[in-house]
Symmetry: C2
Subunit: 235 residues, 2 copies
Amino acid sequence: MAMTPPTLPPPQRRVESSLAPPQPDVLTIWIVEDNDLLRESIAHVLNQTPGLCCPLDVATCETALAALDDGAVPEIILLDIGLPGMSGIDGIAPIHARSPSTQVLMLTVHEDRDNVFEALCAGASGYLLKPASPARIVEAIEDIRRGGSPMSAQIARKVLDMFTRLAVPQKDYGLSQREREVLHLLVDGLTQKRIAEHLFLSEHTINTHIRNIYAKLHVHSRSGAVAKALRERLI
Amino acid sequence: MAMTPPTLPPPQRRVESSLAPPQPDVLTIWIVEDNDLLRESIAHVLNQTPGLCCPLDVATCETALAALDDGAVPEIILLDIGLPGMSGIDGIAPIHARSPSTQVLMLTVHEDRDNVFEALCAGASGYLLKPASPARIVEAIEDIRRGGSPMSAQIARKVLDMFTRLAVPQKDYGLSQREREVLHLLVDGLTQKRIAEHLFLSEHTINTHIRNIYAKLHVHSRSGAVAKALRERLI
DNA sequence: TAAAAAATGGCATGTTCATGTGATACCGCC
DNA sequence: GGCGGTATCACATGAACATGCCATTTTTTA
């Protein structure tokens, strides 16, 4: 089991107040992994690496969440996907709810593409295959520190596919600059009068623009224009 | 300049009809790169690698498109981002228009994140930093062959961010079944009257439903309801 | 430089909408 | 049995909208 006390002393002060010289840019990393050996070995690797620090390693999401509730804010959490109780995937959202700045790096045995992908969708910053060499672990953490998301090419393709599927063909209806502007305000729900006020124009002018937008988009109502604008990302 | 004849003989038959023993799963790769030395050196690497074959290397997109027009279908095209004339990014769409199955691997000198990202959005399958070691080149191509998208962790994060930004939280406004039905028809641009006809109900009833929808979504107009429905995927 | 496109403004009219204020009826549930 | 939610229907009214038809000015483009 995890050797974590039910309640933690404020952990983020531990680095600064420890015996070691103050390290302003030491990365605080937690590990959530139910395999005790693996967890402790990773923790050891991290604590041996200059610039990294692993003050907390636990076996369940619930324990880690409790620690977050006590006010600790790690930069990174290594989170096993296949945990007993609350799974790693389910743990991502509550972690981010408690500490939005914390980046979550998933740990997974096999490159289970669906699970990894789901984790990334849930907000994970990347993943690490275990067992990973110490070098690979540190490399992944460095990737994250530099604002990257370590993942295999296969997973990257999956994310990319999902992304480009959402990217709509982008038709061009020949809207002018002004018309796009008015359309944007239409989508925001403004009335003709409000749009006129907002753009310092006559209400009649806006009316004309709206007509032209309708003609170009082949619609006959605000709803139609708004729907088309949002669906085809014209705004 | 590129040493490519204006018109090509059907290139995809060259492998099978060559002196070498037939290789059913040889990958055909083209290179589009204006640096002659680099291009030829990559071509050399590819042709030296068992299972890979580079029958065409050219200096401009236009030349490659002409070759595609002649009916050649490479599995992969290595495409420089910074080409004179038509840029690599602009070349992706016409390439896919001519040969949808061809995967495009971008070549770029510096990890110009915006350009690379744009290329991926335009349909590229990954990218390769140049100069790349022969091993790295072959590795990237193998990634693609296995259905992956080689990219750095930084770029992966960018794609991931863009993707998760599109994934909306999915709030629940407590809409009833009927209300969702009406909302859907609203999004489709129907008037109250039409909706009433469509559902065999009184116009008054639809009016009431619309009011209730407005109240639950906290909006005061059709446009507002439509915008919220589309933006938050309520439909 | 002439034509085309965009931006601005106006008047008029019938239509549709948003909202206030009702009513009746059904259904699940504590 | 009563209470809350849903679904249905009704009348009324001022506001907003869609559309027809028109004119002037500026900017862009051929």
